[in-house]
Symmetry: C2
Subunit: 107 residues, 2 copies
DNA sequence: TTGATATTTGAACAGATATTCATGTATTTG
DNA sequence: CAAATACATGAATATCTGTTCAAATATCAA
């Protein structure tokens, strides 16, 4: 296995990407267009927020290459970027669902 | 594949965990005790921060079950929790290293 | 017990950030 | 052209969060 974290810049990029996923609204936006491409307004409606806020978040997700964008007429199609995003979310779900919690602690 | 994100509470827990990984200092702490258990002071020295700050972060990582703790005399051994953490970091690294960036954009 | 080491905890502050609202831009339709 | 639709953008703000410092706790040694 390759050592992770030896590169300083890489840690910066990684944390930036994790940080983006660390907001409930933004994660719901990403999940909304995980399996199928969607328009901004549809995402906004599905998540239950304004189109403006949706656009703000999509811009950040796009800059981090977590979603890709494509114009269709006057609408914009957004979809989750690559399969690593999917895999990462899968591992995270597996971690959260982890059964053998030797000690639970309320924050 | 199982659908992700249908459960509201699960999204909350997942974002909370992602948020913890989204801080450079905290991620470096986690990386420091990824492959071997380490004492707080050693982690602090390795990362280059105070023991106090290290302890603050380790408490959060522990609450999210990202690390496990074990007392050894008057020292505390911390180590990354399960293999999902490793897998998740691997997928994230793969995403960041992704070659086919169709369009780069500066934030 | 007293002192030293290792870690934890709490409060306070400074900086970051998600959200809202108003405005601007692009694209299509009449 | 003008009007309408769909997004994007910028500024302002209220909240959150990482960090520091001081003090507390725990464990061991003498």
């Amino acid at each position: 296995m390759r050592r992770i974290g030896s590169d300083q810049d890489q840690v910066t990029v990684i944390t930036e990407t994790f940080r983006l996923l660390g907001d409930p609204t933004r994660l719901r936006i990403l999940l909304a267009c995980l399996f199928e491409a969607k328009y901004v307004n549809d995402v906004a409606t599905e998540v239950g927020i304004s189109a403006s806020l949706t656009s703000h978040h999509l811009r950040l997700l796009r800059a981090a290459r977590l979603v890709r964008a494509e114009r269709q007429g006057r609408q914009m199609l957004y979809v989750a970027a690559d399969e690593h995003v999917n895999g990462m979310l899968g591992e995270m779900v597996a971690h959260v669902r982890h059964p053998d919690a030797e000690e639970e602690e309320s924050v």
